[in-house]
């Protein structure tokens, strides 16, 4: 177990290193951000001044070393625009994204698994078809379009929820719903096929022979074992949610990391972009570790090794 943990941590470190290097390279290839920062009408001498201040005139190796050592200390430089350290700016936004992500997950996972299991209960029935089309709809829809439609119809016309902003239930439902649709689609399909695969296994026959009803067989026995392949693909869904978060947070004005990333990208605020990537990577690593724990919990064969 310890070796397992150490391996994971080492892997995480390597992944972080790669990410940071990619980000650094991208950052240096990007055109001159200074003009965008200080305005199109600024004099060239001022541009050079600012470049000096931001350390953009140093040799690349010096910049890389400064960048990497900074990252080690959890410092990702100061924003081109605000001239303040970027890490606190990103970390400040983290709770909003985690909040949205958790609500999305709480919405998506049970619903997806319920849908998947219902579909698996009677493959090729009309319920299965309906669920299948609904699920495929989730992976086929343009997120920002869905978001705008939900705002205009559900929030403005029907007035059920708030159009935008950050807060409790009335604020979080629409963005979470938008964000959840894609994972619901994918996980429910995954769950369906995983459960169907489980249903072929001998222990299911035995469970039926024990006198369990088909529902009990599917929802307790097949589902618990199907959860293992489901969990392994859930790691990818974390990326899906973060992906969607950039779009959804922008549309709904949700003050999370996704919105910050888009703002930083459009302002060419490289240090801030770098910091968001760093934090996003960290988030993904953490979530995957949590999923590993869930995985070992669900899979006794690993737990007792």
């Amino acid at each position: 177990m310890t070796i397992f943990i150490i391996r994971r941590i080492l892997q995480a470190a390597v992944v972080t290193l790669i990410t940071l290097s990619v980000v650094f390279v991208v950052g240096r290839v990007v055109g001159d951000p200074v003009r965008i920062v200080i305005g199109i009408e600024a004099e060239e001498t001022r541009v050079q001044e600012v470049r000096d201040q931001l350390g953009l005139n140093d040799p690349l190796t010096v910049q890389y070393w400064r960048f990497m050592t900074g990252a080690l200390r959890g410092e990702m430089g100061t924003s081109f625009w605000t001239r303040t350290p970027t890490m606190p700016m990103v970390l400040e936004r983290l709770p909003a994204t985690i909040y949205l992500g958790v609500v999305t997950a709480l919405l998506a996972f049970p619903l997806a698994i319920l849908l998947g299991a219902t579909a698996a209960l009677k493959p090729h029935s009309w319920a299965d078809r309906l669920i299948n089309v609904t699920a495929l709809g989730g992976v086929s829809i343009v997120e920002f379009w869905l978001a705008l439609m939900l705002i205009l119809v559900v929030a403005v016309q029907l007035g059920w929820f708030k159009t935008s902003g950050y807060g409790g239930v009335e604020y979080v439902v629409l963005p979470a719903l938008t964000l959840a649709y894609k994972p619901i689609g994918r996980i429910s399909q995954m769950a369906r096929s995983a459960i169907i695969d489980e249903l072929r296994k001998p222990y299911i026959k035995a469970a039926r022979a024990k006198g369990l009803s088909e529902k009990q067989v599917v929802f307790t026995h097949a589902l618990k074992n199907a959860a293992i392949p489901i969990i392994t693909t859930t790691g990818d869904e974390v990326a899906t949610i973060l992906n969607g978060a950039m779009v959804v947070e922008t549309v709904f004005g949700w003050p999370g990391v996704g919105l910050l990333t888009i703002n930083a990208l459009s302002r060419r605020d490289l240090p801030l972009v770098e910091a968001t990537v760093f934090v996003v990577t960290g988030m993904i690593i953490m979530t995957n570790m949590l999923l590993d724990v869930a995985y070992t919990y669900l899979n006794p064969r690993i737990r007792f090794q």
């Binding site: 892997q11 390597v14 992944v15 790669i18 990410t19 990619v22 980000v23 991208v26 290839v29 990007v30 055109g31 493959p123 090729h124 078809r129 299948n132 089309v133 495929l136 709809g137 992976v139 086929s140 829809i141 343009v142 997120e143 920002f144 379009w145 705008l148 205009l152 399909q189 096929s193 695969d197 072929r200 790691g235 990818d236 974390v238 990326a239 899906t240 973060l242 992906n243 978060a245 950039m246 779009v247 922008t250 990333t261 888009i262 990208l265 459009s266 060419r268 972009v273 990537v277 996003v280 990577t281 993904i284 690593i285 995957n288």
Partner: protein, 313 residues
């Protein structure tokens, strides 16, 4: 049927996939109504894309500011011309025609980036699975990383460096999605590597290249094609998201994503501007997804039985 099946009824031998004819695949696909619809829809889209010049009733870039933002089913200005079935856009351009030409861009982006990423991913996956060792380790670490990383963020980062544009978008979408093919190709290579027919080939003295191209690749083609189908849908959506965020294709290119993105400022008065291309993407992606999932059921020996049997009960 043979006598090796351990079950009470026949199954094919484990390992080498049993072949059923393409005709049977097709019949199987069409026996499912939704899949049949999906295929017909995709064929329609494809035909109109290829023959856009013939099919489109109007020039997609011909503006007519006096006919702007007309709702669907508006009759044409000139008598006898084709009505604007899907309305017109803020420059008075016919939306149906733009949709048809836009399909060309969207599908081209989807298909070509899927092709590039598919080729790249398959080759890397094959290498990883076939040679194992350090190559495998390196490639798979990268795959793991990219799998878990939001591809949109990666795409935006690279686009930031490349600048927006048609080829940048294709390039970016290709390099952010190669890993799904790599993962699948590697998995299958590992599985086939251990099967007797590859061993036999090796014993017969086949070169690595020959084993890979003549024996491994053909066997992996159909799952990879199915994956590619799925990916095309995802990539069209990805292009739309990039357009929305302002980093994707730029006008005067007319992709579906750009059409939705551009139409969103008119949602309150001319809903069709964003809604129609929105539905176009939705139904295309849905059809591709549906086709992929049916194809998977039909080519996977485990699912095939259930699928083909459906018609009989």
């Amino acid at each position: 049927m043979n006598n090796t099946g351990s079950q009470d009824f026949g199954e094919s031998v484990e390992g080498r996939p049993s072949k059923i004819s393409w005709l049977r695949y097709l019949r199987g696909l069409f026996s499912d109504t939704t899949t049949a619809f999906a295929i017909i829809f995709l064929m329609l889209i494809f035909i109109s894309t290829v023959a856009a010049e013939v099919v489109a009733p109007y020039d997609p870039i011909k503006t007519n500011l006096r006919m702007r933002n007309m709702p669907p089913l508006t009759p044409a200005v000139e008598d006898g011309s084709f009505p604007h079935v899907l309305g017109t856009d803020p420059l008075g351009r016919d939306i149906l025609s733009r949709l048809i030409y836009g399909a060309r861009v969207s599908l081209l982006v989807g298909l070509s980036s899927a092709l590039v990423s598919g080729t790249l991913g398959t080759i890397l996956g094959l290498l990883a699975g076939y040679y194992r060792g350090i190559v495998d380790d390196l490639i798979m670490r990268l795959v793991d990383f990219q799998m878990g990383f939001p591809f949109l963020l990666l795409a935006l980062l690279v686009l930031l460096a490349l600048g927006p544009g048609f080829w940048s978008v294709i390039f970016v979408l290709a390099i952010v999605r190669w890993m799904v093919y790599a993962r699948q190709a590697r998995g299958m290579t590992l599985a086939y590597r251990e099967t007797p027919f590859i061993d036999a080939a090796r014993v017969l003295g086949c070169s690595d290249a020959r084993i890979i191209f003549r024996h491994l690749l053909p066997n992996m083609a159909s799952p990879l094609l199915i994956l590619g189908t799925l990916e095309v849908a995802g990539l069209i959506l990805g292009e739309a998201a990039l357009s929305f965020l302002g980093f994707g294709l730029q006008p005067p290119s007319a992709s579906w994503g750009l059409m939705i993105s551009g139409g969103r400022q008119y949602l309150s008065s001319a809903w069709w501007l964003a809604t129609i291309p929105g539905f176009a993407i939705f139904f295309t992606a849905l059809s591709l997804n549906m086709l992929a999932s049916s194809l998977r059921s039909i080519t996977d020996p485990l699912h095939r039985e259930r699928w083909l049997m459906k018609g009989s009960d």
